[in-house]
């Protein structure tokens, strides 16, 4: 196995250009599980945690190498809360937002926040740079538009981020759990509301009809909240698996979205 540990972004991009099929190693929290249990034996590994450009967090740009521990202490309450629910302190000190994007699990905890903001994912190769909206980048469960030779540089958030934001996650124990349902709700002063849910579809789900309906409600009545929850439940597309049932996830999606909305009203 060849290992490259670049110390600058240029060096990292040169490495990915030279080894377009290389395995990119960030925090290792997903990759090393594959090494241990799926016999992943990469020929070339590029470890990127020493790249300072990826550690940057400058206003609306969050570098791919920013760990969950840093996100936990950051300015965005919903993202901080999402980060806090990722694994244990041991996981959060290693795992990164770039890794969460690259793994593209439907349960990725930072993804609902990024999806609710329609954040862009910045990708670079030695030859080019491009920005894809989150739903252009994540193309399916554990599938992305990342091309060989490209690195995830970070996520770019829009300028307008409301203070009223909330995230919550359902699991069957009180910490250290993969989401059965996760949800992020953002609400702007003009009523515009964005909702994103994890673990209830092949990728993060944006229940557009629910968003549209509730965005016009400046002071939603109880009936409007019920309708909002009903629409959220109708728009998710969960499955049955060993963690939960589709029926429960559908139900809980509406309940959780409604509760979070009430918290930010």
């Amino acid at each position: 196995m060849e290992t490259l540990l670049p110390r600058h972004l240029d060096e990292a991009l040169a490495a990915t250009a030279a080894h377009p099929e290389a395995t990119i190693l960030a925090g290792g929290t997903d990759l090393m599980v594959a090494v241990a249990y799926q016999a992943l034996r990469p020929a070339v590994v590029i470890g990127i945690r020493r790249v300072p450009e990826l550690q940057e967090w400058d206003g609306r740009f969050i570098g791919a190498g920013v760990t969950y521990s840093r996100l936990e202490r950051g300015p965005f309450a919903a993202l901080a809360q999402a980060a806090r629910t990722v694994g244990s302190p041991q996981i959060r000190s290693a795992g990164t937002i770039g890794g969460n994007l690259g793994t593209a699990s439907p349960a990725g905890d930072s993804l609902p926040f990024l999806a609710a903001l329609d954040a862009e994912v910045l990708l670079r190769s030695q030859a080019a740079e491009r920005a894809l909206r989150w739903d252009e980048f994540i193309t399916g469960p554990k599938r992305t538009a990342l091309q060989p030779g490209e690195l995830i540089v970070g996520a770019r958030l829009p300028e307008a981020i409301p203070d009223r934001q909330a995230f919550a996650k359902i699991g069957t124990r009180t910490a250290m759990v993969i989401a059965i349902v996760s949800c992020c709700v953002l609400r702007w002063d003009d009523g515009t509301t964005r909702v994103a849910l994890g673990s209830v579809g092949p990728t993060t789900v944006r229940p557009r009809a629910a968003e549209t309906m509730i965005s016009t409600e400046r002071r939603p009545s109880s009936a409007a909240l019920d309708e909002f929850a009903r629409l959220v439940s109708a728009e998710v597309s969960p499955i049955n698996d060993h963690r939960s049932t589709a029926a429960y996830r559908r139900h809980a999606s509406g309940v959780l979205a409604r509760r979070l909305l009430e918290r930010v009203l």
């Binding site: 629910t85 919550a168 359902i170 699991g171 124990r173 009180t174 910490a175 429960y248 309940v255």
Partner: protein, 740 residues
Amino acid sequence: MTITKTPTVVAGGVGTSPIRPDGIPKVRGEFAYSSDLEVDGMLWGSTVRSPHARARIVSIDVAPALAIRGVAAALTIADVGGRGLFGLIEPDQPVLADGEVRFWGEPVAVVAADDRETARIAATAVVVHYEPLDPLTDPERAEELGETFRVLDITRGDPDARGEVVVEGYYEVGMQDQAQLGTESGLAIPDGSGGVDLHVSTQWLHVDHEQVVASLGLPPEQLRLHLAGIGGAFGAREDISLQIHLCLLALRTGRPVKMVYDRAESFVGHVHRHPARMWFRHEADRDGILRRVEARILLDGGAFASTSPAVLANAAYFAVGPYASESVTVHAAAARTNNPPCGAMRGFGAVQSCFGYEAQMDRLAAALGIDPVELRLRNALDREDRIATTGQVIVGSLPTRRVIEALRALPLPDEAPGDDPRRLPGGTGLTTSRAAVMRGVGFAVGIKNLAFSEAFDDFTEVRAELTADGIRIHTAAAEVGQGLVTVIQQIARTATGISNVEVVWDHTGEIGSAGSTSASRQTQMTGGATLRACEAVAAVALARADAESLDDEGAWRDDQLVMTLADLVAAGPIEHLERFRHPPTTPPDEHGNGDVHAGYAVAAHRAIVDVDPELGLVHVVRVDTAQDVGRVLNPQAVIGQIEGGIMQGVGLAIMEEIVIDRGVMKNASFTDYLLPTFLDAPDMTAVLIEEPDHWGPFGAKGVGEPPTISSTAAVVAAIRNATGRDLNRAPVRPEDIVGL
């Protein structure tokens, strides 16, 4: 038999909580577990396992594995001499699959190679052609087909007895994993003359020895089993896992072989708690006295027998719980299916039936309009009563009423849940505000037999030795983490007055069996043997010195040191080999009646839960308990067993279940098989009820299992109380509470 005596005062003796002798090495990371052993030139072993729940093996080709550089052996059932079969109760499981695989994960071949990575690659290189067969995974269908490990029918009293109030219920318990943190591991070292030394973490060295020599056709003296450091057990190490494979590989290659299962392999590498389907019908008078109990209990034993016959017996014998009833009919069966094999886990059958009978007691109380705790008191068993199923008279202590009353007397906490969301349902997920929470309280009582039953020749050997340095206790009893090593020291100190006590683990060639570290038995059995052996040694020493007492300096008379320990043993070693047996038990008669048990313990649990009914999430706030412990030998260790056991019961109540789909495990990892964390742990208060038993040392009873028997039932009762829902299945899932 009288072995109860007033403890003498000695530092670190019975009744105190001295620090464990292995405590400091453990906190320093210096304690050697079986997975930490290594020896020069050793190979690593790896196992080829079935990807099918049931299939015919068309062919196995090990040549591609052997062609890999560094691979020393690749073996199949064709390479196994001897019986080729193992099993704790009946030898029905092939050492490696023989013609057909019967469960997902069954070992098919084993390989050994120069390093772990090569061994793993070699295992994947073995080519096995399977012809998949339809697996039998429904235990009810299996029983219909007569595919059972044991059927036990119990009848007692007048089958036509009737009560005025009748409640019926159907209940299920899921498959729980022991999830001992140390996975299966061991090291086999050939001795160069056809024999082998196996260092392994196990609950019962000698029964492993028996099974390895029989299955491989070895002369018994050619195999020595040594106890290696054990990272928890809880039943998972009662059966053979890699013991035979390691010896087979070591003998074949002539080199030491080490194996360590990873967590995924551990899930299929040991047996689990039996899933249960149970139906009960309770009939009572208007005043709540049970007149008749009927039960049907079906356990899914999986593909091989393991301890299913004994687990089934417990489930059946305790179908009524710690309550009296003059008329009982129980039909219980352990089915043979193509699901993963099930066997021992803490509580051993008593957990499953308790979940059913305690739910029934609550239903009965509701139907009668009687307080549920009061209903239990009215039916509670005590010394000299008869066990409802077997009719056995309880000759030891069984303070059921005292236990219930002591628990009832504990104050309930504040009504209101706190504000910290981390201690509310949903925890750090912040799903739930205080306003969304409903609180519930549940009460349950459980009974468990102590030590082995049904005429099993249950014994323990201990050799006590007086040396110039103090007392040395030789034993083969497995210290799995519970603190037996400390209790042995304490008993030896109290029995002799000598505080310097060393516990020496002898291998199977040096001492007889200590029996299993299971069935809550070692404090009573190895503890009992230690007491007798030490008393015998002390008696010889005192006679030799014509003295009255002993301590670390020597023998004393009239406050004068009359002989030092060195002088005492200069005249020849003083030692005593004790083989200790508990009072005999009988097999059941044709009605399932008889004196099948050696003793009992009872415990009660009261759970307080906060439930978010809309999302179906639960936080267990408190589980308080009162437990019948006979006599407390080590308060800290007893509390440790109680808190740890309750936590496992809470896990079964709300999160722990191996999910099986057509014989295939869907969650064989710690990512998906959820264990309670620090943040899931309820607060606990324990009241220890000391009513000395008839045969444990100083009247002590085993304490390991009672904490798990009724804690699950209490938590689920509390969730029922909070939600008003008829939850008939453990673990309770969010969708069950929501009603989806």
